[in-house]
């Protein structure tokens, strides 16, 4: 039996999943509260005990491989530094998000002494330093490196700016005792985005440095390297499910919406170029695999913010569309306050499930609205109009996948996920026009992402088995 043990050290829970790659079956899964502040291996041990208790066979079989990802201890906290906010800084931000990082701050142009002081005071694991196209501006990245070299910052650095001075920049930082990796420029030419090398360097730094700095390396004896931040695992899974492997087709262009307790992530795997004719594309090119994260939308810690941002009216509308039989008028604010003060609460009554779904629907609506591109019309000289697209056009994307507790435990998946589609409220938002909905019924996405590095074909089939089509 080729059993793979796939582990996610989450901020709240440590999750384990045992997959038999010979039969392509999930043998079992379990979770226990994470114990990062004490000793990360305690939570892991507890999760494994639960896994073995429920699935005794897993304890007896030899484990072929153990693989882990982590978002514990604050995740991979990253500060992005670039030159022009819409250009190299935006490219750096996209590289960071795609690497699964938590973007804590970002800075454009030359760093002021105040900004450097702010960076010194911000808990941060990695600084991604960009600026200038290859052969372009050198001064700003050199000056910023000089200031950061002279600072008390202890974070690791990834330099992904103007190739001409990348060596000097790295040297300056290394001479000041900082750890530095060099990656290819995130914006080598003004109209070319190149985020993959920076993502790889961020991942490498995460494995080699960040994990140790956070004390997560105690788990290494058992699990080997912690291979990537958890959101990167989800993005890799999304990419595998979309693209498939050489031997087996995937589901095609898709979106994964991941609703957590504190954040909502949206991943799209698609080209994103205009799906209608006569549209002019503006702005930086978009990455094929794109992740955005909404730090204000989550079903537990940030449940109140969902109510605040969406407004009670919209939550009530969502609730009415889900729970169309009862005439109850629940107090959404009170429910949100309750779950945010006690994040371990799970819905019990039918009404509570409907409230959760209404909040989730609002979170999906907002998060996808922020992720999707937009189409704006401007009058042309000849009397007609010109349509300008900014961001990704998701119009033709036909698969939307939901993952996270609300889909695993909950109900009403169709009502939650349909909030991703085009709506009259935002006619200019380039959301999917219509889509098939799936839910991650086995909490397998992170595991599929981990497994995709070594057994992509098997990982794909396990994913397909556990992604359940939702019927309207």
């Amino acid at each position: 039996m080729g059993v793979h043990l796939l582990i996610d050290f989450g901020s709240t829970f440590t999750k384990v999943l045992a997959a038999d790659t010979d039969t392509e079956e999930v043998l079992g899964r379990a979770q226990a509260p994470s114990t990062v502040d004490r000793d990360i291996t305690i939570g892991l041990r507890n999760a494994l005990d639960r896994l073995y208790a429920a699935n005794p066979v897993v304890e007896r079989v030899p484990i072929e491989r153990r693989m882990a990802c982590s978002s514990a201890a604050g995740g991979l906290r990253l500060i992005a530094v670039g030159l022009v906010p819409e250009l190299t800084l935006e490219a750096a931000r996209r590289a960071a998000l795609g690497a699964g990082a938590k973007l804590v701050r970002s800075y454009g142009y030359e760093l002021s002494p105040e900004s450097v002081a702010e960076i010194e005071a911000t808990p941060c694991d990695l600084i991604l330093l960009a600026g200038g196209t290859d052969g372009g501006d050198k001064n700003v990245i050199l000056n910023n490196a000089e200031r950061l070299a002279a600072s008390k910052v202890t974070a690791s650095f990834v330099v992904a700016g103007n190739r001409v001075v990348a060596g000097s920049v790295a040297q300056m930082l290394a001479a000041a005792g900082k750890h530095v990796e060099i990656a290819a420029n995130v914006l080598p030419e003004l109209n070319v985005l190149n985020v993959e090398p920076a993502r790889a360097a961020i991942r490498e730094t995460f494995i080699r440095r960040v994990v140790h700095a956070k004390g997560l390396d105690k788990a290494q004896q058992y699990v080997g390297d912690i291979l990537m931040p958890t959101p990167m695992a989800t993005l890799k899974a999304a990419r595998l499910v979309a693209d498939g492997t050489e031997a087996e087709a995937g589901l095609g262009e898709l979106m994964v919406v991941e609703i957590g307790g504190a954040t909502t992530n949206v991943h799209t795997i698609c080209d994103g170029s205009p799906s209608q004719s006569d549209v002019l594309l503006k702005g930086l090119p978009e990455p094929y695999a794109k992740r955005t994260v909404e730090g204000d939308l989550g079903l537990r810690h940030n449940a109140l913010t969902i109510v605040e941002v969406a407004g009670l009216q919209r939550i009530a509308e969502a609730f009415a569309s889900i729970d169309n039989h009862s005439s109850s008028k629940p107090d959404f604010q009170a429910y949100a306050a309750k779950v945010s003060s006690d994040p371990s609460l799970v819905p019990q009554s039918a009404e509570q499930f409907s409230i959760e779904a209404a909040l989730a629907r609002a979170a999906v609506d907002l998060a996808v609205g922020r992720h999707a591109g937009s189409l704006e019309e401007t009058p042309s000289w000849l009397g007609g109009t010109v349509r300008i697209q900014r961001g990704k056009d998701l119009g033709a994307l036909a698969t939307v996948i939901g993952t996270g507790g609300v889909f695993f435990h909950g109900r009403h998946a169709e009502q939650i996920l349909s909030a991703a589609l085009v709506s009259k409220r935002e006619p200019h938002s380039l959301r999917p026009r219509k889509a098939n909905f799936y839910v991650d019924a086995g909490y397998v996405m992170y595991a599929v992402g981990l497994l995709s590095d070594v057994e992509p074909a098997k990982a794909l089939r396990i994913a397909k088995k556990w992604l359940r089509r939702v019927e309207a």
Binding site: L83, V84, E86, L87, T88, G131, G132, T133, G135, G136, D137, K138, N139, L187, E189, L190, N191, L280, K282, G283, T378, P379, S380, W381, V386, I388
Partner: protein
Amino acid sequence: MQKTIVIGTIGSDCHVIGSWVLNRALAEAGFKTVFLGAVVPQEEFINAAIETAADAILVSSMYGMGILDCDGLRAKCIEAGLGKILLYAGGMLTVQMEVDRGWQAVETRFKEMGFNRVFPPKTKPDSVIESLRNDLGIG
């Protein structure tokens, strides 16, 4: 020293006559010009300016949608290491309706986008040449 000027019609506009006339006038006035023709993307102006170590970029737009095509040019110049290069725009930069409403607003809009000088319709080449000489410090 002879000053180098990159000139062309920007964006989706294929009306080349304005920049062609101006190009000729600049050459006759002793400038070294790099004429890029019509339908020129922003990146091409910048690459030509880097290659020729140009002193100014002059963009022409004749079809009324210049704002759309010119927005972001200064930002790209900054990334490309040309943060201080002179940028001029001219032609029929907006629809006539907006010109009628007042040139001041159009000029302000382009200056906010990082252009050093903005020229209204019917500007004569001489006034562009004079501005260039002033801005580049040549007699």
